[in-house]
């Protein structure tokens, strides 16, 4: 049994057989063979190599006949690679010396070549594709029918991977993928956010661990505590089976809260809204009693294609959400990505040295007006179907906000000319996630219709910490006194100007901060759908008067660690089962 500690990004517990994926998304099969099986495994390798070579030769002939010798020749080269005696010797050595399976040994040897080619200049790097092709061909013959891909699962698995791209994560079938864990990634990575959206337990940022597990081994993912247990012993397994059961029970009990108001014991109403990523999640929000969508992230529309999404693609997604929410407000945030994440033709001319301080989010939109206007047209069209608000991310100066509003006015004019309906009085608000926006909140209040506090970025930009960087992640804390003072400043300013203010960062979904936020004066929280019942339960268990006391006390603490410990203690007094 081996226990690995990572970052918990999506709660729950799942137990099941491991499916191990490597960096390129190939499934890595079992790693080790019994020592007495080495001879037969080497034979199996030879057999697969022969078949793979024959297949490549057949391909060569087919292509040469069809298109000419120069096209077929590349498969001739592949056949030679597969039949290469040096390659074979290297693979066999790994099988004999380390009892590796032929599959694993083949991957290891070929990946070593990939590394060499990548390191020896652009001409050699072109070979990398050939090597992957050869690897796939050999593995196909080794694995035969056993080969299973993420997209063709037939039975439930726990996915373990070096990393999952957002689109791989989004493609996971929650019915068959019970949970996942990755070596890379941090709490605010896109993959982590998607895991929460899919509502499957997930742990990321575990560091290297895939070499310690074979496909098919039993794994436990503890998404509550950020643990992964490899090959658990009977006692641990029994404990977790019990936990799994209990967790389900607890979730069901939260479900009962759905139709009760989010109201403190002393009668103060707190609006609870949902943060969503996909249109389908609007249903999740309703099922948990959300009063609206406080943050609809639209980045997903941009991630999965070679081209920017069309106006109709935007519109279809927004329409679905607005119609599902049936009269409840929906805040659509415009594109919030760095240029590096966008389709090719929008890439920055030079690689940015500091992407987080670079051309991203609203700045990017203001530079690529076509892209921006396409999205705005769709948002405005959706505003004809129900209450929609526009929210601009990463606003750092007043000029940016004025510019963005001017573009909206342009688009409105366009729509008018074409006779397309939209809500003329659509509210336009901003994310407050850069310290400059807090400092100038009084001025922003005169131009924006609402504020939404994005705590993740505000913390990052205030403390100069990248939370995904393991070496400094411990400095990242919502309870840092500097961050809390900024939040207090913002609330005071919003109150002075009667500005609606909500909190939509992760801080709002963490039950240890609910008392503090309410004490500071926040009355509107937007959280991931699965956190709505939890936060509602906290709200219904506290008094504003107590929250104010807690808040006063926290403001006297001069460091994040003590503040978190204090807040955790206070939250535990109220709802022990919610606070780890």
């Amino acid at each position: 049994m081996e226990v690995k500690r990572g970052i918990a990004v999506s709660p729950g517990v799942a137990i099941g057989p491991a499916m191990v994926l490597d960096a390129e998304g190939f499934r890595i099969p079992k790693r080790f063979v019994q020592e007495d099986a080495v001879v037969s495994e080497v034979r199996r390798l030879q057999h697969a190599l022969d078949k793979a070579r024959d297949e490549a030769l057949a391909n060569e002939k087919l292509l040469s006949d069809k298109l000419g010798g120069e096209y077929g020749a590349i498969f001739g080269a592949h056949a030679q690679m597969i039949a290469d005696q040096k390659l074979r010797r290297e693979i066999v050595a790994l099988i004999e010396d380390h009892s590796f399976t032929p599959e694993y040994a083949t991957s290891q040897v070929l990946r070593r070549y990939v590394k060499i080619f990548e390191a020896s200049g652009p001409a050699a790097a072109a070979h990398v594709r050939d090597i992957f092709d050869v690897e796939q061909r050999i593995l196909r013959h080794l694995l035969g029918e056993q080969r299973e891909e993420l997209s063709h699962l037939t039975s439930p698995v726990i996915v373990l991977a070096a990393d999952l791209t957002p689109s791989e994560t989004a493609g996971l079938d929650p019915k068959l993928v019970r949970a996942f864990a990755t070596e890379e990634g941090g709490r605010t990575s896109h993959t982590a956010i998607l895991a929460g959206a899919l509502e499957i337990p997930a742990v990321v940022g575990l560091g290297r661990f895939l070499s310690e597990i074979s496909g098919g081994d039993t794994v436990i993912i503890d998404g509550n505590r950020g643990l992964v247990v490899l090959n658990p012993d009977d006692k641990t397994l029994a404990e977790y089976q019990h936990t799994e059961e209990e967790f389900r029970h607890f979730e069901e009990s939260l479900g009962a809260l759905r139709d009760l108001p989010a109201e403190t014991l002393d009668g103060e109403r707190i609006a609870l809204l949902g943060n969503i990523e996909f249109p389908d999640e609007a249903e999740h929000c309703l099922a948990r009693g959300a009063e609206g969508i406080g943050l609809y992230r639209t980045e997903f529309l941009y991630l999965d294609s070679q081209r920017a999404p069309t106006e109709d693609e935007h519109f279809d997604a927004y329409r679905k959400v607005v119609q599902t929410m049936n009269g409840r407000p929906v805040v659509i945030r415009t594109l919030d990505l760095g240029a590096d994440k966008l389709p090719g033709d929008l890439h920055p001319e030079e690689r940015e040295r500091n992407p987080f301080l670079g051309l991203r989010s609203l700045r990017l939109c203001l530079k690529h007006l076509d892209l921006f206007k396409t999205q705005l047209r769709a948002v405005l069209r959706a505003s004809a179907l129900g209450p929609v608000n526009i929210m601009f991310p990463l606003v750092s100066t007043l000029l940016e906000l004025r510019h963005a509003k001017m573009i909206v006015a342009d688009v409105m004019e366009d729509l008018d000319e074409r006779g397309i309906p939209f809500a003329r009085n659509i509210a336009m608000g901003i994310m407050i996630e850069v310290p400059s926006a807090v400092i100038l909140a009084d001025q922003f209040a005169a131009v924006a219709d609402f504020f939404s506090l994005g705590t993740n970025d505000l913390i990052q930009y205030t403390l100069a910490v990248d939370r995904n960087n393991q070496s400094v992640a411990n400095l990242f804390s919502a309870a840092d006194p500097a961050v809390l003072r900024l939040i207090r400043m913002l609330i005071k300013s919003a109150n002075r100007h009667n500005m609606p203010l909500s909190v939509c960062g992760e801080m709002s979904a963490d039950p240890i901060y609910t008392l503090l936020l309410v004490g500071l004066g926040i009355r509107r929280l937007s959280v991931t759908p699965h956190s709505i019942p939890e936060i509602k339960k906290v709200v219904r268990s506290i008094r504003v008067s107590d929250a104010v006391k807690v808040c006063r006390k926290v403001m006297t603490i001069d460091n994040a660690r003590d503040a978190v410990n204090y807040l955790r203690g206070e939250a535990r007094k109220i709802i022990p089962e919610l606070v780890g």
């Binding site: 040469s64 298109l67 000419g68 010798g69 120069e70 020749a73 590349i74 001739g76 080269a77 592949h78 030679q80 690679m81 290469d84 005696q85 040096k86 390659l87 070549y113 060499i116 080619f117 020896s120 200049g121 001409a123 050699a124 072109a126 070979h127 050939d130």
Partner: protein, 99 residues
């Protein structure tokens, strides 16, 4: 007796260097001979009968290589390989009849 050692200076002339397809041609030819055939660049020695080994050589156009053939048919082998290099490793004369 079998230990004839033949050395030749070679130059990679084809524009894309010794990439997969020309390497395959070279390996195919080298494997028709008994002798050991090695391509040397600096301190690196690469087996001309192994395509994987040749590809790691990453020889670009204009690279100078030393051919060493050792064995009973070393002379014939060296001649044939030199000829292949001079002809651009089959890359220069893409056969129009094939297209």
């Amino acid at each position: 007796m079998d230990d004839d050692l033949v050395r030749r200076q070679l130059c990679v002339t084809n524009p894309e260097g010794l990439h997969a397809r020309p390497a395959a041609k070279l390996v195919q030819l080298a494997n028709q001979f008994q002798c050991e055939i090695t391509l040397v660049r600096g301190s690196q020695r690469h087996d001309a009968k192994s395509i994987m080994d040749l590809m790691t050589l990453a020889a670009e156009q204009g690279s100078k290589l030393l051919l060493e053939a050792r064995g009973c048919d070393a002379h014939v082998a060296a001649d044939a390989i030199e000829k292949l290099f001079v002809e651009g490793l089959g890359d220069l004369d893409a056969n129009p009849d094939d297209a």
